[in-house]
Amino acid sequence: MTKSQYVRANYQVNATPQFHVLSEHQCENIYYGALEALERTGAEVHSRTALEIFRQGGCRVDGNRVRFPTRLVERAVSSTPSRVVISDRHGHRSMFLEGSNVYYGPGPTNTYTLDPFTGERRRPKKSDTVRAGIVCDALPNIAYAMDNGTPMDVTPTLADVHAFQALLENTVKPIIHWGFGIEQYQDIVEMAAAVAGGLAELQRNPFIVLYSESSPPLRHSEEAIDKAIFAAKTDIPVIYTPCTFAGGVAPATMAGSLVISVADFLVGLVAGQLVREGASFIMGGLISTMDMSSSILSYGATELSLLSAGLTDVARHMKIPMFSTGGCSDSKVIDVQTGIEAAFSILIAGLSGASIVHDCNYMEYGATGSLELMVMDDEIIGMVKRILEGIEVDDEHLAVDVIDAVGPGGHFLGEMHTMAHFRDFWAPTLINRLRYDGWKAEGSKTMGQRIREKTQNIINTHKPEKLPDEVLRQIQTVVDRAEAREAAKKISK
């Protein structure tokens, strides 16, 4: 044992794999492109509140058109926290959105759901959101919950409020949640505050993240930008996501699409930072290509992975946490295509080091949510996490002594060294490595069949931790009040 007697000097290792799509200079180039677009072309803003904030903040406002001086945008970027910590329902700090930490989870508001029991594609119900909460709660590699579909068996304008209730009561994990507008977000924050033990507690250890989407190019609807402003005012972290698709609402070139995406995020960010300097913002990024044959926004295209990774590079350049996309598919059923597209995007998003990777449940270019896909993705994420751990290189791991002890033609099965390290191998649960005969003896099941069994099993047996009765009552009160409000609106109409 002489090899470890020496001390290494100037020894730089890759603690994890290294992966970058864009160089630092290219990131800068894209960022400056976005600043130029905002200063020259500006954005269309459809909210009176926001227009007033922009005007007072020093932007040039001309009707709906707002042009942003570079210094103003730069100031907003520099006042944005470079890290956001999200807690779970207990207030335990669980998601550290900083550096290159990666967390995976599902996406929201699909208009269909694939029923994991019948296989039917149908409209989501509130009971499906309950299932979504349970499955998110049970899967070890899913870091947070999102609704997996807009329930359509409740008052349509309160579908978000009902979905939030269903998630809140069925998972302790953080919740990222879409809302239709400010009123609904007020309801949602109130429910969350009831769980946290007051708004101040919720602000200190937020376990919810609000979510808003703008419609590129450079256009911001009233509810989109007002939601961002609401979040900043309320001091709750928010994700601002332009849905950018190359060739449709952005140039067909990848770099041009990144410019649109960054510029549109910055519009939301500036509004938020003008309202409250230091408000927690996460840069969103639903960015892909428009399939020019079917005209869908593709959730399975390589360009989704490439663009999201490029955008993540720019986000790191700006030192703002990144909300990326992966684990999704254009396939209509769980099949080989689903596996390919989900694995591809989960891998690249992981390598890119995006803070949050959402949509690990999106089938059919986002139209359908599937819990089975989420269960599949949980396994893929496990594999990718192993890849992200990289390779350790030191004397113990190089194992030159063990190689010598075993010698040519020997084997390592009975070695203490093997015993000490084989557990580092990633252990599959749904991936099957049985030999052919063994696999056949177990019924020749495809992975799709195993996924379905596991999903059903989770729904049937997993019991998430219950909220106290008193808190449940408070949550119900908020929902009832919202229902009364909507009913009153209908009558007055």
């Binding site: 208009t111 359509m152 060739g247 020019m292 005209s295």
Partner: protein
């Protein structure tokens, strides 16, 4: 002559606007009947484009280039159609419903309809029942098309249909709907005449409804 029309149609398919203009001018100079230029050259090329797009052999930007090339020829022919109506497949009023700013899908439908020879009136975004009502009165379209991306805004489609009924205009016009959250079931439920899952089928649907 048939070789000439073939050339013209091919130039439309290839999306070569300048070439289409050149060929059209040549034909006009040679005294060719404008209606023949349109039917056997311009429209005939565009029909091929439509068929190819449907089977995935052509892509959206190419279709739009072809449409642009065809329109280049049309511009030259139009002034010569003395007393004749420019052949139109019909008139369609399109709009994204109230409260919704998403309009890429609706615009695409509009362009596809135009490519197929329809006259399109585009109401833009945030179009409430009143806006549709006014457009129907003004333009007398055969079809109105409503688009929505959100589950909340799609409810406004029903409102528009109700208003049309109240105004006694419901049977004067066909109503079609589309957008991410829309399905055939939903279209049936709110009493629309049809649902189109994408731009190509919206064109087919309009053709069928106006046949």
């Amino acid at each position: 002559m048939s070789n000439y029309f073939e050339d013209l149609a091919h130039s439309v398919i290839a999306g070569q606007q300048d070439r289409v203009k050149q060929l059209t001018q040549q034909a006009l100079d040679a005294g060719t009947d404008p209606v023949e230029i349109i039917n056997q050259g311009l429209i005939s090329g565009m029909n091929v484009v439509g068929a190819r797009f449907k089977v995935g052999q052509m892509f959206v930007p190419e279709v739009l280039m072809s449409a642009r090339a065809m329109n280049g020829g049309m511009e030259l022919v139009k002034p010569l159609l003395v007393g004749q109506e420019l052949p139109s497949a019909g008139k369609v009023v399109l709009g994204t419903v109230k409260g919704d700013l998403h309009d890429i899908g609706k615009n695409l439908v509009g362009m596809m309809l135009e490519s197929a020879g329809f006259t399109v009136v585009n109401l833009g975004v945030d179009a409430g029942p009143q806006k549709f009502l006014q457009a129907i009165k003004e333009h007398k379209p055969g079809v109105i098309g409503m688009s929505a991306l959100l589950t909340t805004t799609m409810l406004s489609m029903k409102d528009t249909i109700e208003v049309l009924k109240e105004e006694g205009l419901r049977n004067k016009v066909k109503v079609i709907v589309g957008g991410a959250p829309i399905s055939q079931d939903f279209a049936d439920e709110i009493g629309a005449d049809g649902f189109a899952p994408d731009a190509a089928s919206a064109t087919d649907l309009c053709k069928k409804l106006l046949a």
